[in-house]
């Protein structure tokens, strides 16, 4: 049974096909309104999330399907000690596809190994969040019309930021990409991502602690939030949480065709005043996420039926 746990589970040609489907959904939504009629999506969220769960649910409703939702692990069988493997087997009896978020890394893989229906990883701790990457890719595609010859700046928490790791993995499969890694020393990109995704493919990158210095060279600026839930030590979180704040003054350093992205939710790292700048694309990214989730649900259900 085909599941998507990591963005690398999808080939470049599959990503291209998903983007094409999403663009067709945007252009002809009525054509897709009954595509999943009679199908059920189970959203299993073992940790709090509003936007990702609602995005999946909106995606399924817009495909004409239904949703079974588990939104609170405390009221679920997980609180009674049921394993992820057993939960996946049980939900397979009720639904046609699962979208799962879990605080533990690798939980979605365990679910996929035990479910008899497709599993989409909606975030497993600090590990992977492939549908966020799908949203990011569609946003870059719709704004830039290409995945080559781009300088992408990644700013903020590059150590625990799963969206950053997934995006680097996805974009490093395209030609002529370049990355600027902007972070405090304590939150630098882990060496294994640099070794396996960048150095192994001879992809140029540089590391800096200065957002201002990096701004003029960027085609894409991907801001991230320093996530409190990823720290064991609150003192470290408080010290690092406001390392970078993108404001209108810093935006003047960016090119006219720069696009600014953020996986949301934001806290302080992008000032609200930046929202009016036409280069701010983070709310478009949210909408694009729904379209890509629609495309992915369709693909996996079609593959499961064949």
């Amino acid at each position: 049974m085909r599941s998507v746990i990591d963005i690398l589970d999808l080939s470049v040609s599959e990503l291209d096909a998903l983007i094409a489907t999403a663009e067709d959904i945007i252009a002809h939504p009525a054509d897709y309104a009954e595509k999943c009629h009679g199908k059920k999506l189970a959203t299993l969220f073992f940790e709090p999330s509003t936007r990702t769960r609602m995005s999946f649910e909106a995606a399924m409703y817009e495909l004409g399907g239904n949703v079974l939702s588990m939104t609170d692990a405390a009221s679920s069988s997980a609180s009674k000690g049921e394993s992820v493997a057993d939960t996946a087997k049980v939900i397979s009896c009720y639904a046609d596809i699962i979208a799962m978020r879990h605080p533990k890394e690798g939980a979605a893989l365990v679910a996929a190994n035990n479910a008899s229906i497709p599993v989409i990883n909606a975030g497993d701790g600090g590990h992977c969040h492939p549908t966020q990457t799908l949203a990011d890719l569609l946003t870059i595609w719709r704004e830039k019309k290409r995945f080559s010859g781009l300088t992408v700046g990644l700013c903020g928490d590059l150590k625990f930021g799963r969206t950053v790791h997934s995006l680097i993995n996805a974009l490093s499969r395209y030609e002529d990409m370049r990355f600027v890694l902007i972070s405090p020393t304590e939150l630098k990109l882990p060496s294994y991502v640099k070794e396996e995704s960048l150095k192994a493919k001879n992809i140029p990158y540089r590391q800096t602690t200065s957002l201002e210095e990096a701004m003029p060279e960027l085609d894409v600026l991907y801001m991230t939030r320093v996530q409190k839930e990823r720290f064991f030590n609150e003192e470290d979180y408080l010290r690092l949480k406001d390392s970078y704040i993108l404001d209108p003054a810093k935006m003047t350093l960016g090119r006219d065709d720069l696009i600014v992205m953020h996986p949301l939710p934001r806290v302080n790292e992008i000032s609200v005043a930046v929202d009016k700048d036409p280069r701010a694309c983070y709310f478009k990214q949210v909408l694009n996420g729904k379209y890509m989730r629609m495309a992915l649900i369709l693909k996996l259900l079609e593959e499961a039926a064949s």
């Binding site: 394993s83 605080p103 890394e105 690798g106 294994y192």
Partner: protein, 138 residues
């Protein structure tokens, strides 16, 4: 220094000097009710110094453990005083329940029934990663 030859058993030879005790621990040789000899820093023409483990019984051995700890080690199976099989193990692609993931955020830290599985992710640098969380084995 002389250690008696064994009639029937296993000799793990050409172990990189210093790795024998790790191999001894991971193979759980201390729990066996048979003679086990560990020779450390033996002189070797090829390697300069090497370690050797001799097990005085033909017991099942997890070759994946040997390949993981020291891919250049050789395993000699001895029966009636004769070497009947000799092999270099090499690095296994998958390690199942040989080592444990130490990442407290990994699903294996809370779901006790899960196998601890590591995949060879970089042969050149001998790096294994947990299949669940991608944490490097150490």
């Amino acid at each position: 220094m002389n250690i008696d030859s064994i009639r029937t058993g296993i000799v793990i030879d050409h172990i990189t000097a210093g790795r024998a005790m790790r191999l001894y621990d991971l193979l759980d040789l201390g729990s066996l009710d048979v003679s086990v000899a560990i020779i450390q820093n033996a002189v070797s023409h090829k390697m300069g110094r090497k370690d050797i483990i001799k097990i005085d019984a033909d017991i099942p051995v997890n070759f994946d453990v040997i390949g993981y700890v020291d891919p250049t080690a050789t395993v000699n199976i001895i029966r009636d005083g004769t070497v009947v099989d000799k092999r270099v193990i090499g690095m296994p692609e998958i390690l199942r329940n040989v080592i444990r993931c130490k990442n407290p955020r990994c699903i294996t830290s809370t779901e006790q029934e899960l196998d601890h599985v590591f995949r060879l992710s970089d042969r050149k640098h001998e790096i294994y990663r947990c299949i669940y969380c991608e944490t490097k084995a150490n």
